[in-house]
Symmetry: C2
Subunit: 407 residues, 2 copies
């Protein structure tokens, strides 16, 4: 494909106008929306209103006057259609890590006769760390990791919860939620799916797959801003049987009656803990609102097509890269990883040329294609820049080879 052909494909794309909803910096090709989503144009004004008019003018009355008290449930309801859930099954709260703890612990405590949280090695680290934290507090529980190909066979009568990430953060592998959930249920285990790299980027049908529990991130494809609050999902039929051990007052049945003993609220609200972060929720609501009126099937198909084009162009124009993601878009999220021995320096050289992707240790160049604001010409130009970096051996520049402690 030539640049003109890529441009023509954008021109023919009915979704191309969505990009105008975002305040992307000029001259940057941003392929890291899977780490931090772009800024919606409406977010600054929304935050100014919440801060200046709501907080500044109405002060404490804002909790009722501006619906702050219901913001966490309301924002969860807005995310629900993106993940195939009912509005009353999703809550915005805390961080993904904290939500993992809440749901994993609740699930383990609801299955006292089962001792194992089963996951795969190289799951996103915080998922494994939080599972270790849960197991460290609950007597007789342990975290077991089994290579993904052996995972279904390892679901036995001792498994309380199967904990998996839908789209793998590094490889982009997309797991089969329906099949694994069914296998877990056949053996009496619950499932908890981490949707951090899929919500807003690929089709998710939690209800259709009979999923028990899920969590996900607000600052990636949902465009909620740096450190945005996260979300959690609990299937309606399970809500009354699970209790979060993070039993904070905002999850109480009557928080303002100030009882000494905890009694969980009915429904999804019981999974709240502390006071909801109103500024963060407002920004996340704006991020999620960018999906309003969008044909989700077409959007997710575009994400796949962007990835396909990237794979094809890299393999056509650059040497030395080994595809580290599934070639078949049906088994892939909306990011693509290539392994290369100089991946870190190549990523730095690209950033210096204003093509922003990610490095993931030890040798992966990861590019994310947020379909709301990425076009085919972006992909073409990114690979053109990558080809130039390789041709000029720009990755050999010492300035790009020093790896900071934090990236």
């Amino acid at each position: 494909m030539t640049r003109d052909e890529a441009r023509a494909r954008d021109a023919a794309d009915p979704l191309r106008g969505l990009r105008d909803r975002f305040a992307l910096p000029d001259g940057v090709i941003y392929l890291d929306g899977n780490s931090l989503g772009a800024l919606p144009k409406t977010t600054p004004a929304r935050l100014t209103d919440v801060v200046t008019e709501q907080w500044g003018r109405d002060l404490i009355a804002g909790w009722n006057a501006h619906g702050w008290i219901g913001a966490a449930v309301r924002a969860g309801g807005a995310i629900a259609p993106l993940i195939g859930a009912q509005a009353d099954e999703v809550l915005v709260a805390d961080s993904t890590s904290v939500n993992l703890f809440k749901l994993l612990a609740a699930a383990c405590m609801a299955r006292p006769e089962r001792g194992t949280i089963l996951s795969e090695p190289e799951n996103f680290p915080t998922d494994l760390y939080m599972a270790q934290g849960v197991a460290g507090m609950l007597a007789g529980r342990r975290v077991k990791t089994v290579a993904f190909d052996d995972l279904v066979a390892a679901i036995d009568d001792d498994v309380a919860v199967v904990l998996l990430t839908h789209v793998h953060y590094k490889s982009g592998h997309k797991r089969d939620i329906a099949a694994i959930t069914a296998a877990a249920h056949a053996r009496g285990a619950l499932v908890l799916w981490d949707l951090s790299h899929s919500a807003g980027a690929v089709a998710v049908d939690l209800n259709g797959c009979d999923v028990d529990l899920a969590v996900g991130c607000g600052y990636k494809y949902l465009n909620g801003g740096p450190g945005a609050p996260a979300f959690l999902y609990v299937a309606r039929g399970l809500q009354e049987t699970l209790r979060s051990p993070l039993s904070g007052w905002m999850g109480h049945a009557a928080p303002f009656d100030f009882h000494d003993d905890y009694a969980p609220a009915p429904g999804i609200a019981r999974f709240q803990c502390g006071t909801p972060p109103i500024l963060g929720i407002a920004a996340l609501e704006e991020g999620v609102a960018q999906f309003d009126g969008v044909d989700l099937a077409a959007l997710f198909a575009k994400g796949q097509a962007l990835c396909d084009l990237y794979v094809a162009l890299v393999e056509e124009r650059c040497t030395g890269f080994v595809l580290a993601s599934p070639r078949d878009g049906a088994h892939r999220g909306s990011h693509v990883s290539f392994a290369h021995p100089h991946a870190y320096a190549i990523c730095q050289a690209l950033i210096a040329r204003r093509v922003v992707g990610d490095f993931r240790a030890p040798d992966v160049l990861r590019m994310g294609f947020a379909p709301l604001y990425t076009g085919f010409e972006d992909v073409w130009c990114a690979v053109d820049t990558l080809a130039a970096v390789m041709r000029e051996r720009a990755w050999n520049d010492p300035a790009y080879r020093f790896r900071a402690a934090v990236t």
Copy 2:
């Protein structure tokens, strides 16, 4: 005291100019800064900068370019001088409730031979609820509550942690941190102080009192906005011996190396869990910055004097109110509660007249005096309005008597 005398006292107050740092609505007397602090004038511009310039323009690079990755530790360091701590002993993270869980669980797990979390009944509900959540996960642990007057005598060899709130949310009673901490230590127990109603309003000397652990709220006297992130304190000498069971990736020693096993970071950073909420932290930093250059001893003395004036004027001008807070400012925080059978309707009638305080069940009218932005004339006018409400029996109006489910 007459209104003119109150006005003269404001005119002579060297702290009176601090009020100009806040965007208070015209015509409102705001005596609820202990529920939600007022908006600092600098906060809207700070947030616009973080959102538009930092996130919008620099996107993922913001984590390093704008110091987001260190924001939680940096903001904690800014709070430290307000509570008598070192900068590397305080961290901004999560909600107060979640921080209670982290520190209570870590303390219990570090004292495996002791089974009791000791607190007082009618402690702020989320403190007791979170303790119940910790005890529900750790085999052999329990929460015991003992009336405050009997609490020190109840600290025995089974107590792992004494959990108390420094200033009681309803009565305003201020507990003696030094004496209770010493008593707990004498019996080998740790202490966890909740500073939600004291940080920024009364003197706190955590280091001087040898306090082990503390948490506190960012949206009250610290002016961080609705649902602002909270803070936690861990004494330097304890940091390496405690591990948070909310072992998220941001508390890992090497979060971006993506190891499968959790290893806590050195120092206070290990008490981070998920990705820090950058918008919320930025707003909280602005809130805390309002204390820059302020004589804290004078500020806290002013808070006491405002409370004293309020007590004197209510008792002089209104009948039927019973003081539910300590009369001696040395034993009181910066809010005052009076009991009255019609407290709810009286509070609503005051709000209708633009004097904003709080009702706390069953019969308490609570007024908070944030010394950064409250003056003596405010107190005079508030009581003048209260006297009018009582004189006119305005609380009898049915419009003020209906109590909404959420207040």
